[in-house]
Symmetry: C2
Subunit: 318 residues, 2 copies
């Protein structure tokens, strides 16, 4: 087997820092969650799992962790419901699947994978997407499974404040390291496996108090998730700006056609193109050459990465 150095990166959303009011325990809990998920992905990679399976497994774990805004722990819409979006893409085949507006499927990224594998389509939305996931044997949960008291308190606080969509106050005593009032909650993973194959996956609950039916960049291939032979990318931020910039595909295009390094392409997209349309957030990316890049233009981003055989790294702040 012609093995290459396998690697993996994950993110849990980007935003502004609340370092001064965050307890060390809370900060450490976030970092530990990221490291645990990296460790699970690392084990899979070491066992020879495909990049596609690894990004799906990591995003599933992020969805299951209620600290992150995807799956369990997803934020509430203005109607106090949950609407979940996810996508997954395999680089060398450019196969892809996406779902938007899920309400009952426990792991949206699994639904995206099922769409890719078994639907004959690339994207399914709304109740029909949940029905498809159920028919594929994916676990369905009661709508209140996704919610947590903290997320509901955020919704009530925002609605009391007039409901600006991205202001999702956290009423908890120990606030999260990134200010939930200013955080773009999405999770994602990118991987390069031992066979040199790339994959990316993204999942989100969207924005607290979002208009029902609003879809951001997370399930849009080329915007919040993209993979080809060159690079795999997962984004988090003001979704609308990422959609208008076709941000993830733009990174790939600059690498393929300008010969830019992963870092230079990411720098242009996150540092120039996104801010030009008001875009705040970040992305994680891995290239076919084994470059890793995790840039953001906010004050912080929950993120972590690991190269097989090296120690896993988790960070929140710059």
């Amino acid at each position: 087997m012609n093995t290459k150095p396998a690697m993996l990166a994950i993110h849990g959303g980007a935003g502004t820092i609340l370092r001064q009011t965050t307890s060390l325990e809370t900060e450490q809990a976030y970092l530990q969650a990221l490291r645990d998920i990296l460790r699970a992905g690392e084990v899979l990679l070491a066992q020879g799992a495909t990049a596609l399976d690894v990004v799906q497994a990591c995003v599933c774990l992020l969805e299951e962790n209620e600290r992150f805004n995807a799956g369990r722990g997803a934020v509430y819409t203005a109607a106090a419901t949950h609407e979940l979006d996810a996508s997954i893409m395999e680089g060398h085949t450019r196969r892809a699947g996406a779902v938007a507006g899920l309400r009952t499927t426990r792991n949206p990224v699994r639904a995206a994978r099922a769409v890719m594998e078994f639907s004959g389509h690339v994207m399914l939305i709304g109740p029909a997407a949940d029905a498809f996931a159920m028919a594929q044997g994916l676990e369905q949960v009661a709508p209140d499974w996704f919610g947590t008291p903290q997320r509901l308190a955020q919704l009530r606080r925002v609605q009391g404040e007039g409901g600006a969509a991205i202001l999702d106050h956290d009423g908890a005593q120990c606030p999260a390291p990134l200010d939930e009032r200013q955080k773009f909650g999405t999770v994602g993973a990118v991987a390069l496996d031992a066979h040199g194959r790339l994959a990316a996956a993204t999942s989100t609950g969207g924005m607290t108090n979002k208009k029902p039916g609003r879809v951001g960049d997370s399930p849009i291939l080329g915007a919040g998730c993209y993979a080809d032979d060159t690079v795999a990318i997962s984004c988090t931020g003001t979704g609308e700006a990422f959609m208008r910039s076709v941000a993830a595909h733009e990174v790939s295009a600059q690498m393929r056609y300008l010969g830019r390094s992963l870092e230079a392409a990411c720098e242009d997209v996150v540092g120039e193109r996104l801010p030009a349309v008001g875009g705040q957030g970040g992305l994680i990316a891995v290239s076919h050459k084994g470059e890793l890049c995790l840039p953001f233009n906010t004050e912080g981003m929950y993120r972590g990465w690991v190269r097989l055989g090296e120690a896993a790294q988790a960070r929140i702040f710059r």
Copy 2:
């Protein structure tokens, strides 16, 4: 006013030819419909309308014409319902709006425009998107308004035949010039106005007998619709391949980063990149330099174009 040569192109879907069984009257009726719509757009352009308003107006007229699969005359889903998708994008601002899964809004492209202008978001889906459109004062219609006896006959025929999704037989005595069994029904428009501004819009009823909830490339920015300072593009074809290729944004990237002409970029995308993932169909594009290109890799595409001051051209076959 520093005016440039304004121009406009439209399409009504791509597919295989039924020339031998098509009456000359039917063929002429399609060509006349395309010319009438071009004429309406031309008048607007001559009056100084923005590219954005012109593409919206032309797509509205295509939606209103029951010969084309968008708005009235949209194909049926497997559940004998209609689910309509549309998008619109303005080049110089990269503002954009998109809707998917509409069921009651008469003109989906108007809903996409309203999302762009008034929602604070880029994409809304499902019943919430119809509700938003209604709240914006856009006309709502009974679901059966979209259907026609011909489209229903197509659905029944497909379902009787086992339901292959893209086989949408036309039971009419005078078949359309492009075989409805093999046609990718979408409509779209691109324009360059006298101020050098670009815009694109796309609208569709999807595929006959499609799985409810399926979304193709039409409402996906970068896939079935895209505009920036360089080029405006609207696509039609096997939506899944256009999504996996991020086809419209790919044309822009090749022009911006490889310095390719519009024609060379379109040739690569329609002739190479799309077929590589099984993509059939075509696109219409106009560049900031005033280049027009309407390539397709099927046997035909309903299409037309006009440069202000020149005669409008409409074509179906190669």
